[in-house]
Symmetry: C2
Subunit: 331 residues, 2 copies
Amino acid sequence: MQLSERNLIQYIREKAGSSSPGLVKGIGDDCSVFGKTESTSWLISTDMLVDGVHFQKERHPAKLLGRKSIAVNLSDIAAMGGIPRYALVSMSLTEGLSPEWLYEWLDGVLEILSEYDCSLVGGDTVKGKELNISVTVIGEQNPSGCLYRNGAGAGDIVYISAPLGYSAIGLEILKKFDLKSIDKKWEPFIQAHLDPLPQIHLGQIICESGHATAMQDISDGLATDLGHICKESGVGAVVYENLLPQDLLLDEACAGFGLQKNDCLLSGGEDYQLVFSVKSGCEKKLEEYVLQSGNFSIVPIGKVVEDLGVFLVEEGGKHQEITFHGYEHLI
Amino acid sequence: MQLSERNLIQYIREKAGSSSPGLVKGIGDDCSVFGKTESTSWLISTDMLVDGVHFQKERHPAKLLGRKSIAVNLSDIAAMGGIPRYALVSMSLTEGLSPEWLYEWLDGVLEILSEYDCSLVGGDTVKGKELNISVTVIGEQNPSGCLYRNGAGAGDIVYISAPLGYSAIGLEILKKFDLKSIDKKWEPFIQAHLDPLPQIHLGQIICESGHATAMQDISDGLATDLGHICKESGVGAVVYENLLPQDLLLDEACAGFGLQKNDCLLSGGEDYQLVFSVKSGCEKKLEEYVLQSGNFSIVPIGKVVEDLGVFLVEEGGKHQEITFHGYEHLI
C-alpha cells in the first residue's frame, strides 16, 4: 500500500490534536506558532531533504546546496510574514563525504543565514548510508500578526509572486546538460533551481499591508499550494489562464526543451514564491503598498470562490479541475 | 580523512558564532536557549536517528522505537531542568515500510509526548533509501532558571542518577538473543535500551534545588558526557571507582555476558541518566531535596578539580585518564 504524504499528515494531524497550552497554531500550516506574549509569538518549521530525492548532490554545488537547505525552510517563515531568527541543522553524512565538501556546504548555510539575520544555534551530525539534511527554523511573528492558510474567503482575489515555473525548467535543463556547458541565457532557471531565494521581505510586506487574508509558499506547485489554502479555508479557487504571468524567456525555454507552459506554471515545484489572497476591493491598495516597498513582481491570477476545488479557466473558456495537480509526495 | 563529530561541531560552533539578538545560549549545550522574557525562556534541541546506526528497526518494536525517538530528545530538555512543551518529527521513509508499522511507531511517539504534556506540532515526511528520524523538541525554562554545562567549579561534587550501563548491557543481550526468548530477569536492561525514560522530573528537581552548578544527560557514556561538562566549565573531574553504583543485577549480567563492569558504567551509551555537579557542602541539602520530591536514585561519584581531563581513581589507587572514553561518533 502506498500512502501519500498528504494522507499521512492528515492522519497524524487528527491523532496529534491541535489544542495545547500556549499553542497558537499546530500542524496544518507553513509554520507552527507558539509562545504568544503581548509583543510576539514564535514560528517554527522543519524540512527534511534527501539526496537523490530532493536534490542531486552530484550536480548541485555544495555551497549552493547549503544555501538551498536553509532557503526552503526560510520560505515557510516567509509564508507567514515572519522574521527569521534561528536555525538548527542536522545531517546524516555518508562515508567518503569529503571534509572540503562539508566546509563548502556549511559556508552556504552560514552565508544565507547571515543574509537574513538568522543564527545557527544547534543541530546534530550522524553517520548514514544516505545524505539527509534536516533543518528547523524559528522565526518571530510579524508585529502585524501572522498570515495563515485558513483566512481566504469567497470573493478574495488570488495573487502570486513571479516568476513561476523557473525551478522546474531549471531542473529539466540540469538533467540534460552539464552545469558548466549550459547556455548563459538559461541562467535564471538554473539559479531558481540551485539557489532559490525565500521571499522573506515580500512575505513581511504582504502581511504588513493588512490587505491579505491567507498566504502560503509555492513549494509543490501553484495548483497544490493554492489547494492547501482552499482546503484550510473551506473554499475553492479559480485561476484564469490568460492572467498567468507572461514571460518570453519562459516561452522560449518551454519551446526549446519541449515543456508544457501550463505544467511549469501550475505544477512546477520549488519556486518558493508566494500565493496569497487579497480582500476584494483592496487590490489597488495592496499593489501600491508592495510596489512602494521594493521591486517585487506580484500578479493577480484568479479569485476565491465558494465551490471547493481549484479550477483553471482556459483561454477558450473551458474549466479544468487542477486541485493538487502539483508535485505529490508518495511514500 | 575521518572527522569526529566532536571536531566537526567545534568547527561549526566557531564558524557560527554564539552571539545573536535574543539568543541566551547557542551551540555547545544540551539545548539552545532563546526568547528570554521576564517570566521564561525557550529551550530547543534536535537529534537525528538512523536505522542501523542508532537503532535496529528489525529488533526494535515500532511503538517502543516511537517512544525512544522522542525520549532521547526530551532527555536534552531534562539536562537543562526544563519543561517539555512541543515536538516536531521528520522522517525519511523507505519503500515497503508498512502503514501498520508507521501507525504503531506514531502511537509510541504520541504516547510518550502525552506522558510529558508535550504536543506534536509539526514535522515532515519524505521518501528515502534509509529510515531516518529527526526530532526537534521545544521546552520552557524552569522558573528556577537553566542548568548549563559550563557552571562546574573546582571542589564541586559530581553526582549521577542511577542506574548506569543498563542500556549498553541491554544492547549486548539483544544482539545475542531474539527479543521473545530473553530471560525475564534481564528485562530492566532490555527496557533501558528499547524504551529509556528521560529524567525530566529529576532534572527539574535538581534545577529547583538551587544546589547544582552544571548538568548534562548521559547519552554517550559517563566519561564522555562528564568530559563535556569539564570542557565547557574549564575544569577537570575525578571519578572514584569505589563510589560507582553497586548493582548485583549488573554484576550478574556482566559475568553472564562477558562484559567489563567499568566499561558499562563509564562508557556505555544511551542511559539517558543525568550527571551533575553540586556545590561542596550542599550535598546533604541536595540529597534531602531530591529524596523528598520522589523516588530517585542519585549517587556522588567524584569531584570537580582544577586540572583538565576526566580521571578514574581505581580501587588500588591508580589514576587513569578516561576523558571522552565513551561512545565517539565518527563521520
